[in-house]
């Protein structure tokens, strides 16, 4: 898995590090890490529904913040557990724009092993970094 949960950053909550060879891969990994906080087996999410959304921000790190926040929104507003296989990011004059194609299904306590609700993505120690092998991010989620 291109992410790992960190033990000692957030006593009361969940922290993770995600990575990818490029930005779309990093964003996909981070999305899986957020969803995996709520459901124990990502493979149990069937591709029943498809949806597309886009987010933008002038800063790259807050683009990731807004993107992950969308997953939390769809979880409550439409009860959807989502995976995001396709992400494209473009950079224009006013900053970054991201287009995402997601799939997923309504959460079902019988089918999905649900763990804990993600309340919010936080900015505590939130960081997106360029590294030798590509990109990395640190994220703490409030649960």
């Amino acid at each position: 898995m291109p992410f790992r949960y960190l033990q000692h950053i957030a006593t009361a909550d969940i922290a993770f590090e995600a990575w990818g060879k490029d930005l779309p891969e990093l964003f996909r990994s981070a999305a899986d890490a957020v969803t995996n906080t709520m459901v124990s087996d990502l493979e149990s999410i069937a591709p029943g529904k498809k949806l597309e959304f886009d987010v933008s921000h002038e800063d790259l790190d807050l683009l990731l913040f807004n993107f992950l926040q969308e997953l939390v929104y769809f979880k409550d507003a439409q009860k959807l557990l989502l995976r995001v296989p396709e992400v494209s990011i473009t950079r224009g004059k006013s900053g970054y724009t991201l287009k995402a194609s997601a799939f997923g299904e309504e959460l079902d306590a019988e089918k999905h092993h649900l763990i804990v609700d993600v309340k919010a993505i936080t900015l505590y120690r939130f960081a997106v970094r360029r590294v030798e092998k590509g990109w990395e991010a640190t994220v703490v989620v409030d649960v």
Partner: protein, 485 residues
Amino acid sequence: MAIPSAVRKISETIWELPVSYKEGMLVPARIYATEKLLREMDDGVFEQVTNVACLPGIVKYSYCMPDGHWGYGFPIGGMAAMDPGKGVISPGGIGFDINCGMRLVLTNLTYDEVRPRIRELVDALFYRVPAGVGSTGFVKLSHDEFCQVAEKGSRWCLRNGYAWPEDIEMTEEGGCFAGADASKISKKAMDRGYNQIGTLGSGNHYLEIQVARPENIHDPETARTFGITLPNQIVVMLHCGSRGFGHQVATDYLQLFLSVVERKYGIKVKDRELSCAPFNSPEGRDYFAAMKCAVNMAFANRQVIVHRIREVFSEFFNKSPEDLGMNMVYDVAHNTAKLEKHSVEGKRKELLIHRKGSTRAFGPGMEGIPACYSETGQPVIIGGSMETGSYLLAGMKTADQAFFTTAHGSGRTMSRHQAKKMIRGQKLQREMEERGIYVRTASWGGLAEEAGIAYKDIDSVAEATELAGLSRRIVRLLPVGNIKG
């Protein structure tokens, strides 16, 4: 954890970090704790309580309560009073779960009457009170009706048959923060919250059946005033907040404040989670009005859940909720910002009090608490872990030193992953049942994360608040049955 060497001991329960500790501190930071609790605090507490001390308009001290631990922006257990004219409002001083709080309901049942049927009772509550990830409630509302909930709180519940008239009086601020304005709420916040009224949520949220054993009553007279009159009396405690609605309000305004804090207002904050705006600014006023909507939704959420609990008990014991004596002791919020009048250097002043994982604890004779508690001080409810118990306390006159604020819970000491590595949910459930606590959960993994071992000792926290003169212990309540979200 290492305590910073600059920490000065003021008394057995007060520790201070001076303004020289960090550049930009406007006031000293004060941590309320016994030496033992102070030593157990994580480094985040010292970093964050001193970051808060740098916020414009802060009055007297930046405070942290004995259950303090690392949080977002403010530490959990944090409290800061701001001058409304010169100071700021920050979502980081309130928390993502706006008006997360505690509610305590009485019964006239005893342990002997409930114990033989505890499994069935907990099961019945578990099926009727939705809990867990993404759960939705039985109250179906349009967006317009939801706006009414957001602006009226528990008063909406009274009008719609989900509350007794006295429930309103027994809720902090009468279950409604005046000045809530639903036009300051985003569609996203609405979408996330309008179908979640009457749901517990997950994480550390719970509904618990508890017993007040005679040996755990610290002050029988005040306990009687609070409605604890029978030996081994059964009570019901609730811990939850404003669900996805409040989380989105906090997120929306965190994003807004991030874009204006430095660019428009020239305020440099030590942590992006402390993003803020002057209280007296368009952004500050909008957030205050939106936050109040989330506060009111949380009061309504707990009220609707209490309505459900009364229905279940009534069907189960074949008596009306009135005949079962299911009156409320009190409902206290522990994640809010509120304008209150307090004495500062001998003068009455209106202050914006941020309480983040800390509880209002008004003392005897103060305005704003029900008449029946005017001699005792307001009831304060501090929730412990599902294995160890909780406390009912009372406000004290001496809490003026901290703008009448006390602790809110026991505070975690172990990460969720560490707890899950050490403990298995199913095994924990069996072991707890052997000890007389029957638990139902929406998630086995979630249950393991909430094991008692992951939390601070609640007895030490409650005792520390009493030693410091913030709140005094009235009854220690032990769990008998628990529903964990």
